[in-house]
């Protein structure tokens, strides 16, 4: 366990105190900027009513599902592209064409096809977060030392064993980096898609509190998104440590 960073925590508390003081003293008077204490009260209300939990659960579920699909697709494509020059020759042009396309530009298309639904949210997420997994897997596989390929051949490993016992474990660090980047992208895309395309989850909650002119509640959801990002990343770091320790 890491120790609590005391000085860092102090800084945060200080910022909150200044914010609170600035609003209470009337030094800062934006009509819709709530004080930290008001946000705290709103969080308590939303926690008790179960709204916060429900919206968070939706977003976690969507992110994990979309990210898992994107990771499987990205990993498979990345492996094929990294392993086979033929696959690269056929696919590289199409991929280079699709890759720079910002995932969010895809949202209207997804909306048209899937309507306001979870499918729309997933489609946008998967389209955006498949890239980091794919690119990092491909790069990882391609940069496996040529010596390991020699080893696989002279020990007469089958192609399947070469991939699962040698290439994937050797490329594991960059595959994991790809998956981590993919998870971050998936969360961002999920929030945007919920704001615009799928009326559920934390992204939707932020927008609907905005429209309801409830800034305290809106801030609660914004903070919840931040904590969710932190938690997902921490969980993945722990999981990847475990995976690296037990590779192939």
């Amino acid at each position: 366990m890491r120790q609590l960073n005391l000085s860092g925590t102090l800084t945060i508390l200080l910022v909150l105190a200044v914010w609170e003081a600035a609003i209470r003293s009337g030094l800062v008077t934006y009509e819709y900027l709530p004080a930290p204490s008001a946000i705290l009260v709103a969080s308590w209300t939303l926690l008790r009513s179960g709204e916060l939990a429900a919206q968070t659960l939706h977003t976690i579920g969507a992110v994990l599902l979309g990210w898992a699909i994107a990771s499987v697709v990205g990993l498979s494509l990345g492996l094929a592209l990294g392993y086979s020059r033929t696959v690269r020759t056929y696919l590289e042009a199409s991929l280079e064409l699709l890759r720079p396309l910002p995932g969010i530009a895809f949202l209207p298309v997804a909306l048209l096809i899937f309507n306001f639904s979870l499918s729309t949210e997933l489609a946008v997420m998967i389209f955006a977060s498949v890239w980091p997994v794919l690119i990092n897997t491909m790069g990882g596989i391609m940069s496996v030392a040529t010596r390991l390929h020699d080893v696989a051949r002279t020990l007469r490993l089958t192609p399947a064993r070469t991939v699962t016992r040698l290439l994937i474990p050797a490329a594991a660090p960059s595959i994991i980096v790809g998956c981590r980047l993919g998870l971050g992208t998936a969360l961002v895309m999920a929030i945007i898609a919920e704001m615009l395309g799928n009326p559920h989850g934390l992204g939707y909650a932020v927008v609907s509190e905005l429209q309801a002119m409830q800034p305290e509640r809106m801030f609660v959801y914004v903070l919840a998104i931040g904590f969710l990002a932190l938690a997902l990343n921490a969980a993945l770091v722990a999981a990847s440590r475990l995976m690296l320790r037990n590779r192939g």
């Binding site: 040698l166 050797a170 594991a172």
Partner: protein, 263 residues
């Protein structure tokens, strides 16, 4: 395994050449290599750098295809790494799987071929042969260079090969470690009767280990001279190296390398 006692030579190379084009320019790496390596022989190959030693070894081991001539192992043409011949590389740190323990590195070539118990037994026996039975659970990065190279040798031995092809295996090791490993390889050779093809740029090493020495010239690589080493076995780091025959062979190899360089 088909035993072909009618083939006296375990490796044969007939008119083997290798060339490829580099930016449109043809580059000849090997030219008209003719060679027969006898079963159980310890065959060493020396030559200045750029004479195609490594390429020749890779061609014998099926890692690289000759573009001319024919290579056979146990009478069968070599296209891919053949069963029974395994290559040991110089750069042990790249050749070992850093994320696997010593025992699991040694087991790599056995997985999917033997059941767990048989694998464990082979791994144990191979590690014992190179004196690493106490390090089975260690990871390569925890070991010295010499020990890492032993792991690679054990991994090759675990396959029970008829031929070991070693590419300057001790080139990166200090003199003392090198001497110990030379004796270990000689012991394995005596115990198992495995054929060794051993590349080195160290003349004394070639003489100390070998039954026969091929001196390469090049580029393109050709066999310049073949030298018989009439030293008795078992060999000994002190006594063998003081024998007049040892000095004579060393001089012969040295002269051959000089002559090869003047060609």
């Amino acid at each position: 395994m088909a035993e072909r006692s009618d083939v006296p030579e375990i490796f044969r190379a007939d008119g083997v050449g290798l060339e490829f084009s580099l930016q449109g320019q043809p580059r000849r790496i090997l030219e008209d290599i003719n060679l027969g390596i006898k079963r159980g022989e310890f065959f060493t190959i020396v030559g200045a750098s750029g004479t195609g030693k490594t390429t020749l070894l890779r061609v014998l081991g099926g890692l690289q295809k000759a573009t001319g001539g024919a290579v056979t192992f146990r009478g069968q043409p070599v296209a891919e790494p053949p069963e029974g011949a395994v290559v040991v590389f110089q750069d042990y740190s790249h050749a070992l799987l850093q994320w696997r323990s010593v025992a699991r590195n040694v087991a790599l070539g056995l997985e999917g071929r033997l059941d767990a118990a048989a694998q464990a037994e082979r791994v144990r026996a191979s590690l014992r042969m190179v004196g690493l039975e106490k390090n089975a659970a260690d990871y390569p990065w925890q070991l010295s260079g010499g020990m890492q190279q032993r792991v690679q040798i054990a991994r090759a031995l675990a396959l029970g090969p008829e031929a070991m092809l070693m590419d300057e295996p001790f080139g990166a090791l200090d003199a003392m470690t090198k001497a110990t490993l030379q004796d270990e390889v000689l012991r394995v050779h005596a115990e198992t009767g495995t054929t060794f093809v051993f590349i080195t740029h160290d003349i004394e090493e070639a003489v100390y280990l070998g039954d026969r020495i091929a001196v390469l010239s090049g580029p393109p690589g050709r066999i310049h001279t073949l030298i018989e080493v009439p030293l008795p076995r078992p060999r000994n780091q002190i006594e063998t190296r003081q024998m007049p025959e040892f000095l004579r062979c060393r001089l012969a190899v040295y002269d051959a390398i000089q002559a090869a360089g003047r060609r």
